[in-house]
């Protein structure tokens, strides 16, 4: 197995699926000759041609709608949002058309929307958002958010093969910052399964995306002081793998829910709510949440740093919670 970055894992999945299945194609802004704003599709147009790596006009709603239409007649389109922030322009197509097609009239809509999301890149309010929460409250969608190269590859493959609309949240900050050995063959990670990425005994940290790494860093720091974190990477946000989450809570009895998005109404709220309803009796302390505060993502570095959940925040919360 070769060590590859998160973005290389995405590329591998795309290339392999395009080669495997003629019905897979990619569309979006600047993804053709240019290779995309983040160079994820570099070289693909040369290989697969202009129609299967399709540059579209600047119209998120239009090309998302087009992807939906293509999927209804048997294609498996992968839409690239240039930044996840622009997905708001395609919101109606996603939540009212794609998400409801199957329930309403058995319209199979196997599209994947790649949404490069997240902060820590000094992008400000419009290039740093974590919009997963908007879609999390929309039945009919599936949402995945890998934290590691292996999952980035395996979940993208699963998403492309899935018959439902999937939003694939790829964290921009991780693109070229993490490496991992990733199976070179046809590696598929099933949608709907969380993973305990680090076992521990004192506190469960339930998280996803870039925050998994924050949790792991915190875990290392805390280890020194004898506090043992279990880190659960959700990987799939919708539908949630409650079982894995609950199993971890049953084991540790204390929970921190960690997410990068703004606090109110985020994915973390649901996790906390589920835990406090369904495994209440196992809890030995309040379900803690750590997240960004309820504001747009600020631009200036000191503010962005303050805004984003940091390793120190997890360490502090864990120390308090252990003492509870």
């Amino acid at each position: 197995m070769k060590e590859i970055t998160y973005v290389e894992a995405i590329q591998q999945a795309l290339w392999e699926e395009m080669e495997r299945d003629d019905s897979v194609f990619i569309l979006g802004e600047d993804i053709g000759a240019y290779g995309g704003a983040f160079k994820v599709t570099e070289g693909m147009q040369e290989k697969f041609g202009e129609m299967r790596v399709l540059d579209t006009p600047l119209s998120e709603s239009g090309f998302t709608g087009a992807a939906i239409g293509a999927s209804l007649v048997g294609m498996r389109p992968v839409v690239e949002m240039q930044f996840a922030d622009f997905i708001s322009c395609a919101f109606d197509q996603i939540v009212n058309v794609a998400a409801k097609n199957f329930y309403r009239w058995k319209g199979r809509t196997p599209i994947v929307i790649r949404a490069p999301y997240g902060g820590n890149i000094h992008g400000g309010a419009f290039h740093s958002q974590c919009p997963e929460g908007w879609f999390f409250h929309t039945p009919g969608l599936k949402l995945v958010a890998p934290a590691f190269p292996s999952d980035a590859k395996g979940l993208l493959k699963a998403a492309i093969r899935d018959d439902d609309p999937v939003i694939y949240f790829e964290h921009k900050y991780l693109y070229r910052r993490i490496k991992e050995e990733v199976p070179e063959d046809d590696y598929v990670v099933p949608i709907g399964k969380a993973r305990v990425v680090k076992e521990g005994s004192d506190i469960s940290v339930i998280t996803y995306g870039a925050m998994v790494h924050t949790a792991l860093d915190a875990s290392e720091k805390l280890e020194e002081g004898g506090i043992s974190l279990e880190v659960v990477d959700l990987r799939t946000l919708l539908p949630l793998d409650k079982e894995t989450v609950f199993d971890s809570v049953k084991k540790t009895s204390k929970v921190i829910v960690l997410y990068e998005a703004t606090r109110t109404g985020g994915v973390g709220a649901e996790i906390a709510a589920l835990i406090s309803q369904e495994v209440f009796e196992y809890l030995d302390g309040p379900v803690q949440r750590i997240s960004a505060p309820d504001t747009p993502v600020p631009f200036s570095p000191p503010m962005e740093e303050y805004y984003l959940p940091q390793v120190e925040d997890v360490v502090e919360a864990a120390e308090k919670l252990v003492a509870y």
């Binding site: 709608g65 239409g69 058309v97 709907g192």
Partner: protein
């Protein structure tokens, strides 16, 4: 274009079936048997009948809510349609959806989401698939004049035009968008002028003349099929009922309705068929009876059909269900 006798009679049959089916649904609505509201294509039936009958079997269509003719012509049975209005399990959607929110890919019909013009990009996307795969199929979408004010209209036409997609966009210009007359919806006289912004071919057709709609559709489809790009077709007609059956439409001048009443698409086609000897008296009678029988049968079927059980609401969210996602 020379249109054969059989085709002409079929067009006439579907015009009548559409009119009578919707009329029947309207009565049933007044009797309280229909769930939710009723919106009909009354007076504008030639649009959906014309453009749908011109499609080939493998083509697909994305009708909007005044396109009953499209559902019927594609093969969605009146039984399933009336059952849908009744909220019955045997309805097109098994009760999940109501009235004209009809879709079924087995018949090449893309379901209508209420949000007007949403299906314009969707139809363009189906056409894109055909183009990518090198198939000689086309897509036809329809929306109202009001629907052309939406952003998705713009994004769809632009995309279709830039990519030269085999799609034909129809507009049922029935003069009103709910209570809004043409001049409050747009500042161009013809909706067709909207196509100028995309360098797209456009046509204006008498939307009460089913032969004209059929003919212009065929032409545009062949063009699209040949790889020569999309067309936008404005069908000028008039909404003869209220926006829905609970709207008295007092905002529509009576004279306007009087004027358009004279242009009724069904009477007009009837007259044409008779004058041109395209239908015998016996055939005409047979058509009328077929229409009546089909609707009676459908109503009876729907009446007798069971309602879905409440808990069926939980089924069928995903095409690929995932074990652990069911709510407790």
């Amino acid at each position: 274009m020379d249109i054969d006798r059989d085709t002409l009679q079929q067009l006439y049959y579907y015009l009548k079936l559409t009119r009578h089916l919707e009329d029947r649904v309207t009565s049933l609505y007044r009797q309280g048997k229909v769930v939710g509201g009723v919106w009909t294509s009354n007076g504008t039936e030639a649009v959906s009948v014309g453009f749908s009958y011109a499609l080939e079997k493998d083509d697909i269509t994305a009708p909007y809510f005044r396109d009953m003719g499209a559902f019927l012509i594609r093969g969605i049975t009146p039984r399933r349609i009336i059952a849908q209005y009744f909220g019955k399990k045997t309805g097109v959607s098994g009760g999940k959806e109501g009235n004209v929110h009809i879709g079924d890919m087995n018949f090449g019909v893309i379901g209508f989401p209420s949000h007007l013009a949403d299906n314009y990009p969707v139809a363009a996307g189906a056409a894109l698939a055909f183009k990518i795969r090198g198939e000689k199929r086309i897509a036809a979408a329809c929306t109202g004049d009001g629907g052309t004010s939406r952003g998705d209209f713009h994004e769809a036409l632009n995309l279709a035009s830039v990519l030269k997609l085999p799609v034909v966009f129809f507009c049922n210009n029935n003069q009103y968008a709910y209570s809004m007359p043409h001049g409050k919806q747009m500042a161009v006289k013809d909706v067709a002028d909207r196509a100028l912004a995309y360098g797209m071919a456009s046509e204006i057709v008498d939307g009460n003349d089913v032969i004209a709609v059929y003919t212009v559709s065929k032409k545009a489809y062949e063009k699209a099929r040949a790889g020569d790009g999309p067309t936008f077709i404005e069908c000028k007609t008039m909404r003869m009922h209220g926006h829905s059956e609970h709207d008295a439409a007092k905002y529509v001048p009576r004279e306007l309705l009087e004027e358009w009443k004279k242009k009724d698409p069904i009477q007009r086609m009837e007259k044409y068929l008779i004058e041109n000897n395209m239908v015998s008296e016996a055939e005409m009678k047979e058509i009328d009876e077929r229409v009546r029988d089909v609707i009676e049968d459908a109503e009876e079927f729907a009446d007798k059909s069971p309602y879905p059980e409440g808990k069926e609401a939980l089924e069928g969210l995903y095409a690929t269900p995932i074990g652990r996602d069911k709510e407790s």
